[in-house]
């Protein structure tokens, strides 16, 4: 299997504006061309649209909220297998994408909006671990604060813990500021083989581990306080990368709702079970940006198809020491965690410099 590197990237700003999806895709793709040396359309073999590229392989990946990371997995596979050498992976979404509403999970019935599974997760977490509204609000406060240094984030407003706790009740267990927002936006990455990487960049970032697990169409079948698909995906990714969670310097976590970050830091083994809330509180108090430096989904916004790719862009910038004010010092190893359909499916990538 060939090694695969991230060698270029582009991002649009995430916004609440109604924008044509083709324009968004083109804008983040254009940025890849603008910022990657020696790149021309004829060098790209796979996965694209517009922009004058005539790839020998192209397709669309639809995997709900984790479409972006799964498209990257497809691109990786083409290069690793030798079927393609250089692949552009581009994702975009428009605000109000109905993809977040899951009609095929029969067990949800009329409760098909994400706020309902998020309320069930949050209530169960409060019950099992005595998690408080303040501990949930800290996730949002931290991620909104970190998003202020991300020029592409939809939100550049800091919120205090009490503002978040006192924000509108969506349900008894969910405040509006504990939710990520559907946005318009696009992100792209350029992947290539080890042989070609040097041509495009002096700082290739290697995708060294991949784990992907889907365990049910119905979230109601799963435990409510554990992201079981994430545990399996993370273990597979660590194993493939021959690394351990302790070696992860920076991580982009799928904080669709505040409770997801508390669960994910535990289930990705970044901290021990039942210490997620104190772990995140400590990050917040010490201004440590290790988790979700770009602001996560809550701070940056959540254009479904772009999110996973945007997470990869962030970790790439971190490992290239190019994340500016968001930079984690001396980051060598990073992780991307992207989920879909109430955590019934998870994708985890390990990236290394």
């Amino acid at each position: 299997m060939k090694k695969v590197a991230v060698v270029g990237y582009g991002n649009t700003k995430f916004t609440k504006d109604e924008l044509p999806i083709e324009s968004l895709l083109l804008e983040s793709t254009k940025q890849v061309f603008d910022t990657t040396k020696n790149l021309s359309q004829d060098l790209i073999d796979g996965l694209s649209e517009l922009s004058g590229i005539k790839p020998k392989i192209s397709h669309t990946v639809e995997h709900l909220c984790s479409s972006g990371s799964n498209a990257a997995v497809s691109g990786f596979s083409y290069i690793a297998s030798g079927l393609a050498d250089t692949v552009l992976v581009t994702g975009a979404d428009k605000i109000g994408n109905p993809g977040q509403i899951l009609e095929w999970d029969k067990s949800r019935g009329e409760f098909d909006h994400p706020i309902y599974w998020a309320s069930m997760f949050t209530k169960a977490h409060k019950r099992q671990f005595s998690t408080t509204d303040e501990e949930l609000a800290i996730v949002s406060a931290k991620n909104h604060k970190q998003a202020m240094d991300n020029p592409n984030a939809y939100s550049h407003k800091p919120y205090t813990i009490s503002e978040i706790m006192n924000s509108k009740n969506v349900t008894d267990d969910l405040r509006i500021l504990d939710c990520s927002y559907s946005c318009s936006g696009s992100s792209s990455i350029l992947l290539t083989s080890e042989e070609t990487a040097k041509k495009f960049t002096d700082e290739p970032i290697w995708i060294s581990g991949i784990g992907q697990k889907t365990n049910s169409a119905s979230f109601t079948k799963n435990e409510l306080t554990t992201l079981s698909s994430s545990i399996i995906a993370a273990n597979d990714a660590y194993k493939m990368a021959k690394t351990t969670p302790k070696k992860i310097d920076v991580a982009e976590i799928h904080d669709a709702f505040s409770v997801c970050e508390l669960m994910a830091v535990e289930d990705l083994s970044l901290t021990e079970k039942n210490t997620g809330a104190s772990y995140v509180r400590n990050l917040f108090n010490t201004e440590d940006r290790k988790i979700n430096p770009r602001g996560g989904l809550i701070g940056a916004g959540h254009p479904l198809g772009a999110t996973g790719i945007s997470q990869i862009v962030e970790i790439t910038q971190q490992l290239q020491n190019k994340a500016k004010k968001r930079q984690i010092s001396n980051a060598k190893s990073g992780l991307v965690h992207n989920m879909s359909a109430a955590a019934t499916s998870s994708t985890v990538l390990v990236l290394e410099s």
Partner: protein
């Protein structure tokens, strides 16, 4: 529309079941998710157990489990502070208009 949906439209809550594997097949499907043989359909027990619940405005919504396997979300006709996980509920009504709807009452 499969049997689950046609029955739900008629107000009946049914599940698929495999007589070869002797197990409930849930979510409902025309074939067993273990052996892929044709399933049988039968009514689900009227009593279920609360797994979790919350409230949106005045509506209490919950996950209810039937027969240790079948889980659905629905509305509970109760004050939120009167109900908690582990309590028994009874299915009062179910229907399919645009989407599946289930309604439960607390069992005394």
């Amino acid at each position: 529309m499969n049997k689950f949906e046609t029955e739900l439209k008629a107000g009946n809550f049914v599940t698929s079941e495999c007589s070869y594997c002797n197990r409930i097949v849930w979510p409902p499907s025309d074939y067993c998710d273990n052996c892929f043989k044709d399933v049988n359909w039968r009514k689900v027990s009227q009593n279920g157990t609360i797994i979790e619940l919350s409230r949106k405005e005045n509506d209490v919504f919950c996950i209810i489990e039937f027969e240790d396997k079948i889980r659905v979300m629905g509305k509970l006709d109760a004050e939120i502070h009167m109900a908690k996980p582990g309590q028994t509920v009874k299915l009062s009504k179910c229907m399919l208009n645009d989407k599946n709807s289930f309604f439960f009452n607390l069992e005394n």
